[in-house]
Symmetry: C2
Subunit: 234 residues, 2 copies
Amino acid sequence: MTKGTLYGLGIGPGDSDLITVKALKILKSVDILVYPAPLDGDSLARKIIDPHLDKKYTEIAIKMPLENSQFPSDEVYGEATTKISKLLDSGSDIAAICEGDPFLYGSFIYLFERLIKTEKVVVVPGVSSPMACAAILGKPLVTKNDCLVIIPGTLPEEQIIKKMEVAEGVVVVKIGRHIKKILSALKKSGLMDNAQYIERAGLKEERIVPLSEISAPVPYFSIIMAHRRGDAWK
Amino acid sequence: MTKGTLYGLGIGPGDSDLITVKALKILKSVDILVYPAPLDGDSLARKIIDPHLDKKYTEIAIKMPLENSQFPSDEVYGEATTKISKLLDSGSDIAAICEGDPFLYGSFIYLFERLIKTEKVVVVPGVSSPMACAAILGKPLVTKNDCLVIIPGTLPEEQIIKKMEVAEGVVVVKIGRHIKKILSALKKSGLMDNAQYIERAGLKEERIVPLSEISAPVPYFSIIMAHRRGDAWK
């Protein structure tokens, strides 16, 4: 029997229609879905693709806390990997869906590293949230000879500043409880007046707030973008 | 009469099915297409969407040289802007298509800067080539607290090295005739053994070549990716 294929599908950052035609075709061709989910409550990834599903799937939720330094848990991923391998061995194709792009901070990477040596894995790139946020804010990220840097807000302030300083286009991700430190880094880098904040981009809870009006903490799914020249085309 | 809307559509980096459902719906709703094209020959952007077009469009090609430090030409863009404004005034919606994502080094930015103050402009983000290349190469860009930097290969070598050094995930774009300098920067940054090269990703002319076998010059549409730990999940 031919083994099945594991598809790692980028499904975009929130708006259901930001899925690609390619990912959609694969979704319709498989019968098994794998997705990340919080310990309690609904999976955002599952919610994003919901309008596109028109049949019943076998669903495997990989449950884990959203912000956790011990993540990914070997126990949780080990269990999921065993289950997925068995299904692939039986000839089934599986779509593991992933918010944004699978390879840009994507949860899919933890399945990929565990399965790439033994299984057939195909990755379909997706629209990632920095690009989606830029589109919503109407602020181009980079032009011409600009350098773009994407920085996790979880890093120490002096490291954030050092990384901001080499680039014209700056994106800070994973903000959450790190917002105060990030605002301080923006000030010290001279980027405060050119920075924009957006949370839950593309979802109905989306909010764009002036940086001066932000009070800590903010949601984990928020982004700050800045361009050193104010507008990238200048 | 209601003015038309100018849509800036990211259409992905090459594979026609990497267009989003959202961009596709807009393509089908408009009657006028705007796209960049070389001075001679076919437009790559136009070629990418071709399989999705099932009616006749009014087509406006913005012709310009691919690599040109004088670009964007005020003359060429001024002319296109005038034409587009007139059509929007007459109530027509227009889709300006753009390879990859419109706001990540996208040609659409030059229309956006000229029209955003006077026209209704909606930007639809797209899959960008760094994510598509990572998927094809099977090499995750960044995980957890990694920093990602995207560097134009057109910069001086010492600047490239400085930017490489702040990040775990490194992408070099706009390579072309700058390949030798970039290889030297990779060596000096200790990234040579962890770097991958791909050209014309997602097109039928796609080529993945070991860095040791590359001879200058290479195509403009090529990318080098590297991760400081070899594999991002390590």
